[in-house]
Amino acid sequence: MDLDIDTVRTARTRADCTLRPGEVFLGGGTFLYSEPVPAGVTGLVDLTGMGWEPWSVDGSGLRVAGTCTLEELVSGPGVLGADASGPYRALGIVGQCVSALTLSAKVARTATVGGNLALGLPVGSMIGLFAALSARAVIWTPDGGSREVAVSDLVTRAGVVELAPGEVIRETRVTAAVLGQRTAFRRVSLTPTGRTAAMVTGRRRGDGVALVLTASVPAPHVLLVRANDHDGLDRRLRWITGLGDGTWYEDPHGSREWRAAMTRRLAHEALDELGGA
């Protein structure tokens, strides 16, 4: 929709990424242009003009730019991961994580990885994807420097991310070692293509399994359990439930109780899949 703003700047250099009063960053724009802008926002700085390479992979691992579109993620890293025994098999869940979003392929053409992360929504499946890959986000700070944060720590509560005003998600990094590990994906929603109500992503690492819960919780939970230790998983889930009323997320896309039960179901399925050698 049309946004009631006064200025748009296309960023070409790092210096352009310094926000002026009233400005916010524009990634793909598929969320920003889907709702009226919040009061006080008067200008946009379009990051797609930075010309960042969408993604790259080398001996140190995978880098995905904040402006990498979801379509580019699927057709690049997602395709690399298609070989279930190959060196990038961890990326085998990329396509499923993108499909988990309600957006269509048409929107995936424009929506970006960085935008999905920065929104910090419980259903933001890029959070579950990159958290399962133990990815770290590189964040440009307004003073011209940068800092790193684990993607699993990026979201602090529903829709709130640990980003200061003027900070930009430059890229996310996955180490080479992780790319060769096995991963699993499960999700459920009220309708087959509906908004995700519970999502579990997971990765086998040595004797253990890391499971990431998103969508059914306000902010991601990472559960580290031993392979095939279903009792251990249940203990962890009971502990999470014991954290209090706000543990399980509720919105029009599923009740708290159902989400908790479905999360447990999916987590055990993922643990099963990641069991064995």
Binding site: G29, Y33, S34, G194, R195, G254, W258, R265
Partner: protein, 905 residues
């Protein structure tokens, strides 16, 4: 940027999206469905790839190549740049031949999506269609041809193509706001109430009036104080007068507080922030049961039955019905239930449902210099998205104190209605603003306003008590209905009385009782919705009948056979109905047989390999509907022979995807004995057509259709008498007949909508239910309809497919979440309308009946297929699991909870 091959250099505004940019350049094939990337109606090809143009920042695509539906044939994939401007792309031809649209508002975006997506196209996630139920769209994708060309005079009963098809699929058909913007067009923005119940104690628009670009700001001090209802009926006294254009008392969150009219939509929105308002908040009530208890806040205190047609304002009750009837020799419901072999008592609920017509409400008004007939005054034109142009005209004239001849209301092709456009919601504002400013004025609602301002389906709570003897014959049937009409009573009486009417009358029981009340609350208003109350009440009654059959060990179809009315039986609701309802035909027995037989065919392939956590069951439900709304539905048709030898039909009813334009052309062509393409239908213009009550209550085919048929028949006789054998004597009528002598000869006919017949629908499901997750899979879906003689089998099938899909949404996924009067689900990503992948294919079967009242034996059939679907689904789930869902929608989480509770987990 190049748009459909034409270079454009206009600079986009900061923050402008591609959708509005394209439309401002005249590319009105690009529609607005949601403006948020959820529905796909605005899809265009951007450098060859389909994108929702509403999400694309316009500044980013200055050098791009854009192709819309209008340019697809020439500039789309595989297009031919040398083709004629009117040529169709192969995908567009497929949509025409499959009849892959109804209102067609989603179609321009759909064809761009399909044409721009390399096969295989696995689903259409990102394109919503509200009319078709997607079956005909699947057919278009598969290249199936569902339409045919009829021989001259043989169009009735054939699957002829909708006359507007080529224009619809290429985005050239002008919907409400698709005509070129008149010079000087102003835009409306409306300030909504932040409170569910409040009184404006002070309102100062001075700063807003001084804001840049602002031409007019209206508050309640500036508008007529006339009371009216947004609901529109043949008799305006059907609805309570409880609404003002702008009211100092606000009764729901979002209600109009002030109106700003400015050069641009943004300037109008900005002006609203400058309106200085002080509110005194009042106690609010959101629960309809609480609303009718003593001491509840009163929403419309002081309104009376005589003056305002509000039944009991002191209890917030707008409309009520309390009746009991015992046949001679019977002692009433209580006694009968006490003596019954089996009884059932339970409560069922339905939630708020939104119409989600893909075209939002919108209207334009402007003045043309007089002299209007006899007055010498300018004429107020209103072009609006309405099902009822004449009723809008009449009420606008009343509200604005203008003679009817000074108001002209026109509906172009309407982008879906489902009852939601049987209201006056935007027309009063643009009309008043045009009169005050002298400029053309437009108001286009946003998708969010469709959820927060526009009436939704009445949520209802229905208690049912039913009893039967050991043979399964009903002994008593009693219902207790509570409807939440929200802040205003538009359609409250009509929906309540209709809701309990055919639903009760379809069953024979010697003792019946109806208690029904529709109650004001401080929620968003409820209004007319497909089925008009029947779907809600039928859901409860069909659940109770099913449960009764289960208790008695009687097959559910057999149970219904033993208890449904048969020709000759009186129609009894809370008492015998005297009036003009007749058995013009009767096909309920056939419908039950057809569905039973289809469900009895062995397991569907989809259920092989289901794990042990799945349970399989089947369910049926039925519904009856009167073919015409009660108490008069008037129409007038005129057919004129044009100088080119074609026939022009002027009829006042509106085309909003219901297919009446096709039907009227078929009826006229058949009577005249000419090819259907020699008939042009001009609908829904109060200046060119005679009076018509409007397109609701499924009246378009059987009321207006009957008048069209009579006019055509009279015209044929007239032409033959003026020029012997002009029509009758010709063997070849395909060629245009020179008619210089006869041009202008015409004939007229009218119909008053009485007497009325009854039509029937039966739906059956076979489902699998996953007990661990609450997932429901539909294994088989079958629908039998008693529509009399079928006028256009493909269109009728499309109406049924669409009704079933809309009902599946209400039954399984759709729910407006409202908290303390605030609508939470205000975008399509949070309100789950069925997508293609959500809707199973339904086997559609027709009863073989001939109605003696309808045109050539036909009956109406557009809202009715909706009604039996939800109860059939609930009954199938109950059969599968032993747990009966009584609350709609049956979402996975709710069903899981029911199943978990029943299994003691």
């Amino acid at each position: 940027m190049r748009i459909d091959g034409t270079e454009t250099t206009a600079e986009p505004r900061p923050g402008q999206c591609l959708r509005t940019y394209l439309r401002e350049q005249g590319a009105t094939a690009v529609k607005k469905g949601c403006d948020a990337g959820d529905c796909g109606a605005c899809t265009v090809l951007l450098d060859g790839a389909p994108v929702p143009s509403c999400l694309i920042p316009a500044h980013r695509v200055a050098g791009a190549e854009v192709v819309t539906a209008a340019g697809l044939a020439r500039f789309g994939p595989g297009g031919d740049p040398d083709a004629e401007p009117g040529a169709l792309h192969p995908v567009q031809r497929a949509f025409v031949e499959a009849a892959g649209f109804q209102c067609g508002f989603c179609t321009a975006g759909l064809v761009c999506t399909v044409a721009g997506t390399p096969p295989p196209l696995v689903d259409l996630k990102g394109n919503l269609c509200r009319c078709t139920g997607y079956r005909s769209i699947r057919d278009a994708l598969a290249g199936r041809v569902n339409t045919e060309v009829a021989e001259p005079g043989q169009a009735f009963g054939r699957a002829v193509v909708a006359p507007a098809a080529a224009r619809v699929v290429s985005g050239r058909e002008a919907y409400t706001l698709d005509e070129p913007a008149p010079p000087g067009l102003l835009h409306v923005a409306v300030l909504g109430s932040p409170h569910p119940h409040a009184r404006i104690t002070r309102i100062d628009p001075a700063a807003a009036r001084a804001a840049p670009g602002v031409h007019l700001v209206l508050t309640h001090h500036d508008v007529p104080d006339t009371l009216y209802s947004t609901a529109r009926h043949e008799n305006r006294l059907d609805d309570p007068d409880d609404t003002r254009i702008l009211d100092p008392v606000l009764r729901f969150v979002g209600q109009r507080v002030a109106v700003a009219v400015a050069e641009t939509p943004r300037q109008a929105r900005a002006a609203l922030a400058l309106v200085d308002v002080e509110y005194e908040t009042l106690p609010a009530v959101f629960d309809p049961e609480a609303a009718r208890q003593p001491g509840a806040p009163l929403v419309h205190p002081g309104r009376t039955p005589d003056e305002h047609r509000v039944a009991e304002a002191s209890r917030n009750v707008v409309a009520q019905l309390h009746e009991e009837y015992a046949e001679p020799g019977h002692d009433g419901v209580a006694a009968a239930l006490a003596a019954s072999a089996a009884t059932v008592e339970g409560t069922w609920t339905t939630d708020r449902v939104n119409h989600v017509a893909l075209e939002t409400h919108g209207a334009r008004a402007w003045l043309t210099p007089g002299p209007a007939a006899g007055t010498g005054q300018p004429v107020l034109h209103v072009r609006t998205s309405t099902q009822v142009p004449f009723l809008v005209r009449d009420e606008l004239a009343r509200l604005l104190d203008l003679p009817e001849e000074r108001v002209r209301v026109v509906a172009g092709r309407v982008g879906g209605g489902f009852g939601g456009k049987q209201e006056l919601l935007v027309e009063d504002v643009v009309a008043l603003a045009a009169l005050r400013t002298g400029r053309p004025v437009q108001w286009e609602l946003s998708r969010e306003q469709q959820f927060t301002l526009v009436p939704c389906r009445h949520p209802m709570r229905i208690g049912v008590r039913a009893g039967a003897d050991a043979d399964g014959h009903l002994t008593a049937l009693a219902i207790d209905v509570l409807a939440d009409t929200g802040a205003y009573g538009n359609h409250a009486p009509g929906v309540l009385f209709h809701g309990v009417h055919e639903s009760m009358a379809v069953y024979r029981a010697p003792n019946k009782r109806v208690d029904a009340e529709s109650v004001y609350t401080n929620n968003v208003p409820s209004g007319a919705f497909r089925g008009y109350g029947l779907g809600q009440v039928q859901f409860a009654i069909e659940g109770a009948i099913d449960e009764l059959a289960a208790r008695l060990g009687i097959d559910p179809v057999e149970m219904r056979r033993r208890n449904v009315i048969r020709p000759g039986d009186p129609f009894v609701v809370g008492r015998p109905v005297d009036g003009d309802l007749e058995y013009g035909s009767y096909g309920l027995d056939q419908c039950l047989d057809l569905v039973e037989k289809a469900l009895a065919r062995g397991p569907s392939p989809a259920e092989t390999g289901l794990s042990g956590e799945w349970s399989v069951g089947r369910g049926v439900a039925l519904a009856m509907i009167a073919t015409i709304p009660p108490r008069g539905h008037f129409t007038h048709a005129r057919i004129t022979l044009g100088a080119d030898g074609d026939f022009v039909v002027d009829v006042g009813t509106a085309e909003f995807g219901n297919g009446t334009t096709t039907v009227h052309a078929q009826i006229a062509a058949t009577e005249l004995g000419v090819p259907v393409d020699r008939v042009r239908v001009r609908p829904s213009d109060t200046a060119t057509a005679g009076y018509d009550t409007g397109a609701f209550g499924s009246a378009g085919s059987v009321v207006a259709g009957l008048a069209v048929g009579r006019a055509a028949s009279a015209l044929k006789t007239e032409l033959d008498s003026l020029s012997a054998g002009y029509l009758s004597g010709r063997t070849d009528t395909t060629a245009q007949i020179p008619s210089t002598q006869l041009a202008g000869v015409g004939a007229e006919a009218s119909h008053d909508g009485s007497p009325r017949s009854v039509a029937f629908n039966v739906h059956g499901f076979r489902v699998a239910v996953h007990r661990g997750t609450g997932e429901v899979r539909i294994l088989r879906s079958v629908h039998a309809a008693d529509a009399g003689v079928v006028i256009n089998p493909e269109q009728l099938r499309g109406q049924i497919d669409g009704g079933v899909a809309q009902a599946l949404g209400s039954a399984m996924t759709e729910r407006m979440v409202v908290r303390d009067g605030v609508v939470v689900t205000r975008t399509l990503r949070h309100y789950r309308v069925p997508q293609l992948s959500d809707v199973p294919v339904t086997e559609v079967l027709f009863a073989d009946t001939v109605d003696r009242l309808g045109p050539r034996g036909a009956k109406s059939m557009s809202e009715a297929p909706y009604n039996p679907v939800a109860p059939a689904l609930a009954n199938a789930i109950a059969d599968a699991t032993g747990v009966r869902p009584r609350d709609l929608p049956i979402q996975r989480d709710r069903l899981w909870e029911l199943l978990a509770a029943a299994s003691g987990r």
